[in-house]
């Protein structure tokens, strides 16, 4: 019976309480084992596919041993305190969110220790503990209020800092907030009801004064009705001063030693004032019992589903932060890195701080492709690794994810900004490797799969059917306009100054066309023949051709345009198929 709090002991059958508790605990443990096993099963990146499960478990054991007995143990303890408990990384980036999160973390942890584990913790530490005593009554309200204020602040900050960018789906985030809110609400309501309840008064009077006789208790009832808010329906204020005097004496003798003023429950007490008119009804319906059942079983539900709700971050993020502290990135073996990536997929909270500061966010917005944004990219990287991304019929998803992955500039801001300390740079690199392995490399790579002529034929064959919107006007105005190339006199100056042509002597990077031939194909109206050409895709954009063209033609600008055009048009006729 050690686990159940006093109030629970009195109300709930022991077996029911314990069966429910241990069942939820078992579900929680099984869920945690399943979720954490993914950190050793999921493979992100080609190098992760080369290591075995036993190598990854070996790396875990070695890493843990080094962490516990190595030179960095103080470093890890420091991280435990500063990163995990005080949320240092969040503090460095967004202080209001840090405050909100810290309020939730502190309020929740303290409620858990002082209130939920009262029989395990509080009673042992403070022998005179009673849940009704000061300061516990007040503190319970305070901790609950901290959680509520924290949640409100986080939602407010989310709204205040809205970016207009598509935010990634956060399954179960709302469900978790609702559950947490429900636990808090039932807790406050239960307490409020007990404050106003004559039933609860008589129960306690019996225990501490040894009587339940309304007449005998009259003076005490008068004091509790007028000063502590018990809603007796058979008493009417005002009370005679001698009655009050006698009541106060009784109060001092039997109650005050063990019971703080109910008003110190600064949330529950005002709520109890609202409940006062219906208190008799609630007493009759035994609200003290069913509110307690709701409160306790909502907690059990939270416990059982912890591994599958947003709450799981309370496990994954601290582990991620401690793993970071255990060794510098370069010290991780391929097996260790593989597990770290899988952990990162779970530890991401989808908080969106990375998205808000992403260097290519304006491109994501303009191209209408959220997969440029870190949080979406992380989800896609996980889906790709789990085989959920590339399903037949979802080819366009694969293309968009690849576009996002290859437009990332590796500026490192997301990694710097991540409050969970995830090494996102490493994840992106691994994800690009996975995309390439799935036949979705950068355009400059997949274009090479066919010679320019074959691409032109593919375009011709698909002329009637491909539905991709023709981006000519917006992305290729120069190559669509004769005036920008018709003055070419084929003097070959562009070819002569081109460093790519100059290096083309080696067999492994011979160009198929020269800049001057590209211009000539445009003059001949054969633009499609240039789109897949090595020359167009190997152009270094050094602008020698454009600078030196005696006719002032914008040769390099046209090359850039042709690449953008090719990415659209050749992309639409690619023969890539998702594995069915």
């Amino acid at each position: 019976m050690a686990l159940a709090a006093t109030s629970v002991k009195k109300t709930m059958p022991h077996t029911l309480f314990h069966t429910a508790l241990y069942a939820s605990l078992a579900l929680c443990v099984l869920g945690l084992l399943w979720r954490s096993s993914a950190w050793f099963r999921v493979r992100v990146g080609p190098d992760a596919r080369a290591v075995t499960l036993s190598q990854r478990l070996g790396a875990l054991l070695r890493g843990t041993a080094t962490a516990l007995f190595g030179a960095r143990v103080l470093h890890i303890l420091g991280a435990c305190f500063l990163d995990v408990l005080l949320l240092r990384r969040l503090f460095a980036r967004e202080k209001p969110r840090w405050l909100g999160h810290l309020l939730i973390l502190a309020g929740f942890t303290l409620l858990l220790l002082m209130h939920a584990f009262e029989a395990l913790v509080t009673v042992k530490l403070f022998p005179g503990y009673e849940s009704t005593l000061a300061p516990y009554l007040f503190l319970r309200n305070l901790f609950g209020a901290m959680v509520v204020a924290g949640i409100a602040l986080l939602y407010f900050e989310r709204w205040r800092r809205r970016t207009g960018l598509v935010s990634v789906r956060r399954p179960m985030a709302a469900a978790f907030a609702v559950l947490l809110g429900f636990v808090l609400a039932t807790g406050y309501l239960l307490e409020a009801h007990k404050i106003a309840s004559p039933q609860a008064f008589y129960r306690m009077a019996k225990r501490y004064s040894g009587t339940t006789d309304p007449g005998e208790l009259m003076p005490l009832r008068a004091v509790w009705a007028s000063e502590f808010g018990v809603a007796f329906d058979d008493l009417k204020e005002p009370f005679a001063s001698n009655v009050m005097e006698r009541g106060r004496q009784m109060h001092d003798a039997d109650c005050a030693g063990c019971h703080a003023k109910p008003a110190s429950a600064f949330v529950s007490y005002p709520v109890s004032r609202l409940l006062a008119p219906v208190t008799a009804l609630l007493d009759k319906g035994r609200a003290d019992i069913w509110l307690l059942y709701l409160h306790v079983f909502a907690c059990f539900l939270g416990l059982a589903t912890l591994p599958f709700t947003r709450f799981f971050h309370a496990v994954a993020v601290p582990i991620s932060l401690l793993v970071n502290a255990s060794a510098p990135n370069r010290a991780f073996s391929a097996a260790g890195r593989a597990s770290r990536r899988a952990l990162a997929l779970d530890a991401c909270l989808r908080c969106g701080i990375c998205d808000a500061h992403c260097s290519v966010a304006p491109l994501a917005r303009h191209l209408g492709n959220p997969y440029l944004l870190p949080s979406h990219k992380l989800v896609a990287t996980g889906a790709l690794a789990n085989g959920r991304l590339l399903r037949s019929g979802r080819e366009s998803d694969g293309f968009r994810v690849a576009e996002g992955a290859f437009l990332c500039t590796d500026c490192g801001r997301c990694t710097n900004d991540c409050p969970a300390g995830l090494d996102l740079e490493d994840l992106w690199q691994a994800g690009r490797g996975d995309l390439a392995a799935a036949g979705l490399p950068a355009p400059a790579q997949w274009v090479r799969a066919l010679p320019a002529l074959a691409w032109a034929e593919a375009l011709e064959a698909a002329a009637g059917q491909h539905t991709a919107t023709d981006p000519d006007a917006s992305c290729a105005p120069l190559s669509a306009d004769r005036r920008s190339f018709s003055r070419c006199v084929q003097c070959q100056t562009c070819t002569n100054v081109c460093p790519v042509v100059a290096q083309s002597i080696a067999a492994d990077h011979r160009v198929d066309l020269t800049p001057q031939k590209v211009m000539n194909l445009l003059r001949l109206g054969l633009r499609d023949l240039t789109l897949g050409s090595r020359m167009v895709w190997d152009c270094a954009t050094c602008y020698q051709c454009q600078e030196n063209c005696p006719e002032g033609l914008r040769v390099t600008d046209i090359m850039c345009e042709l690449r953008a055009l090719a990415a659209h048009r050749l992309g639409a006729v690619r023969s890539w198929k998702a594995p069915s």
Partner: protein, 278 residues
């Protein structure tokens, strides 16, 4: 003198020494640098959508414009990209209106008030040779370096408006001020190969090595750079090669040393990757 400092993506993540030394040198020269939250210059998007490229670039310009500042960038490619976006916006009214719409979502606008400057001309012309010369306390006499402008500083010259694209002298003048000697090297104006590295690594390496060999044969002891892309490409093209290589030296580091700034403040001991948490 006050500028918004545009670092781009490469400097903070891969070459923090360039940021450190730029800040140290400009601080000593009395230039105030303001940090705004810029985004990517847009260059990577040129291969996908011209409009997205211009929107990204114009967003940066609009952010600087809102702060009432001109932009100073130490990255040659970002410089070229931002200048290019301006020229696209100026020549194409239809593009301009679409870009304006895109920016209006965030309540910002581009009107062309903000100038984009590369670090080298700011040093040579705005701060001026005389002021620089007066700041030099410890000339690096005897050091022979190959000045690497970077393509997007010079070309296309009507967009970059940086220097004479065929016979530039800005960088050489700046190098002489430090006491070092710029060498003549035939492949000076060639590409460093970096833009090709993702798409065709062997070709990129060939181009880079040809330049390095040429600089070396011309008597240079170091590549003097003013662009993170060129700088890192030269270093990585030589990484793992058995022969002793010639190192890349950022111009801001060379100038800082000549000005008597200490090595630490110039990032000469900087670790390669500064990304926190790595």
């Amino acid at each position: 003198m006050k500028y918004a400092l545009f670092l781009g993506c490469k400097i903070p993540s891969r070459l923090p020494a360039y940021e450190l030394s730029t800040r140290a040198v400009l601080l000593r020269l009395g230039v105030t640098l303001v940090d705004l939250e810029f985004n990517c210059c847009g260059y990577p998007a040129r291969n996908v959508s011209r409009e997205a490229f211009v929107v990204a670039a114009a967003r940066n310009l609009a952010i600087a414009e809102r702060a009432g500042l001109d932009v100073l960038t130490p990255c040659t490619c970002c410089f070229g990209s931002l200048r290019h976006a301006i020229s696209f916006l100026e020549e194409d009214p239809e593009l301009r209106s679409r870009v304006s719409q895109a920016l209006a979502v965030e309540g910002i606008a581009w009107s062309g008030k903000t100038e984009v400057e590369h670090l080298l001309p700011v040093l040579a012309r705005t701060i001026g040779v005389d002021a620089l010369g007066a700041a030099v306390r410890a000339p690096r006499a005897g050091l022979r370096v190959a000045a690497q402008y970077g393509c997007h500083a010079l070309r296309p010259s009507n967009v970059a408006r940086f220097d004479n694209p065929l016979a530039p002298t800005t960088f050489e003048t700046l190098i002489r001020l430090t006491g070092a000697t710029p060498v003549d090297w035939p492949r000076q104006l060639d590409c460093c190969g970096d833009p090709l590295h993702e798409s065709n690594a062997p070709l990129s390496e060939h181009i880079a090595r040809a330049k390095i060999a040429d600089a070396k044969a011309s008597g240079a002891e170091a590549m003097c750079t003013a662009c993170p892309h060129c700088h890192l490409r030269f270093d990585s093209a030589q990484a793992g090669s058995p022969k002793p290589s010639i190192r890349s030296l950022l111009y801001t580091q060379l100038l800082g040393l000549a000005m008597g700034l200490d090595e630490k403040s110039l990032g000469l001991e900087c670790p390669e990757s500064p990304i926190r948490g790595r």
